[in-house]
């Protein structure tokens, strides 16, 4: 079977519900799935943020201080560190007035990946190329 590609589409905002957070933690789990599979088999998710899903992607989140929970910002950095591909819909960032330089990166932790700001058509392409799509 080789690699199975999954497109995770995060369409809900972070924090009020748990769903959009679970998209990040489930994507991170791709690092260890091979222990359950045959040699050479892998599962590779992409994280795609659209609509209100792009809210909660900005720097400076104080979730630990206010509520004692890990911030989405921190999860995003971990995702970049383990080389997950993250795509954020440019049209939605524009609509909500979020600038690219407000998005977190993990440069200081040595991550090579960055969040990709892309038109929705790229996200649709990610869904088309994936074996499965999962909406969060």
């Amino acid at each position: 079977m080789g690699d199975v590609k999954c497109a995770f589409l995060v369409q809900r905002p972070q924090y009020k519900g748990e769903t959009s957070r679970l998209a990040l933690t489930h994507a991170l789990a791709y690092q260890t799935v091979e222990i359950l599979l045959e040699d050479g088999d892998t599962v590779t998710p992409t994280l795609n943020f659209v609509g209100e899903g792009v809210l909660g992607l900005t720097k400076g989140q104080k979730a630990m201080e206010a509520y004692g929970i890990t911030s989405t910002e921190s999860h995003l950095k971990n995702c970049l560190l383990v080389d997950l591909d993250i795509y954020v819909c440019k049209e939605d960032l524009d609509r909500f007035g979020i600038k690219e330089d407000q998005l977190p990166d993990a440069d200081e932790m040595g991550a090579e990946k960055k969040i990709n700001v892309v038109p929705f058509s790229t996200i649709q392409k990610n869904m088309e190329e994936a074996n499965h799509v999962l909406f969060f």
């Binding site: 799935v33 359950l36 999962l134």
Partner: protein, 119 residues
């Protein structure tokens, strides 16, 4: 026959998404398909054993037990479950407890994935 991998996240008794998921799993198993179910988020509360079936509430336990008997694989997210105070000995027998990679593993062999992300 195919394989359907399901992920179920919305909260147990209080969400008809959960009833839907169990009835669909039942129908797919009846047709001879392989089915797996991954519980995460609030749905993990549903692995608690000894649910009382009151007529005003749906209940998952009898469905889950019946699905397990027919070979449906069911696994709950261990972290989500213990965060809710439910320990493994209190859970319904034969439901697996694992980390999130179990879900990705179940997707690998699946022909269709129905991920019910919920609220």
């Amino acid at each position: 026959m195919g394989k359907l991998a399901m992920g179920v996240y919305p909260g147990l008794v209080g969400s008809a998404c959960y009833d839907f998921a169990l009835k669909l799993a039942d129908a797919a198993a009846n047709k001879g398909h392989k089915v797996s179910i991954w519980f995460s988020g609030n749905a993990t509360g549903s692995v608690k054993a000894h649910q009382k079936h009151l007529k005003d509430y749906s209940t998952g336990e009898k469905y889950l037990t019946s699905l397990l008997e027919r070979g449906v694989e069911i696994c709950t997210c261990e972290a989500c479950t213990i965060a809710r105070g439910v320990q493994k000995p209190e859970g319904i027998e034969k439901i697996k407890w694992s980390a999130m990679h179990w879900y990705l593993g179940s997707i690998h062999a699946a022909d269709r994935v129905l991920h019910i992300g919920g609220e």
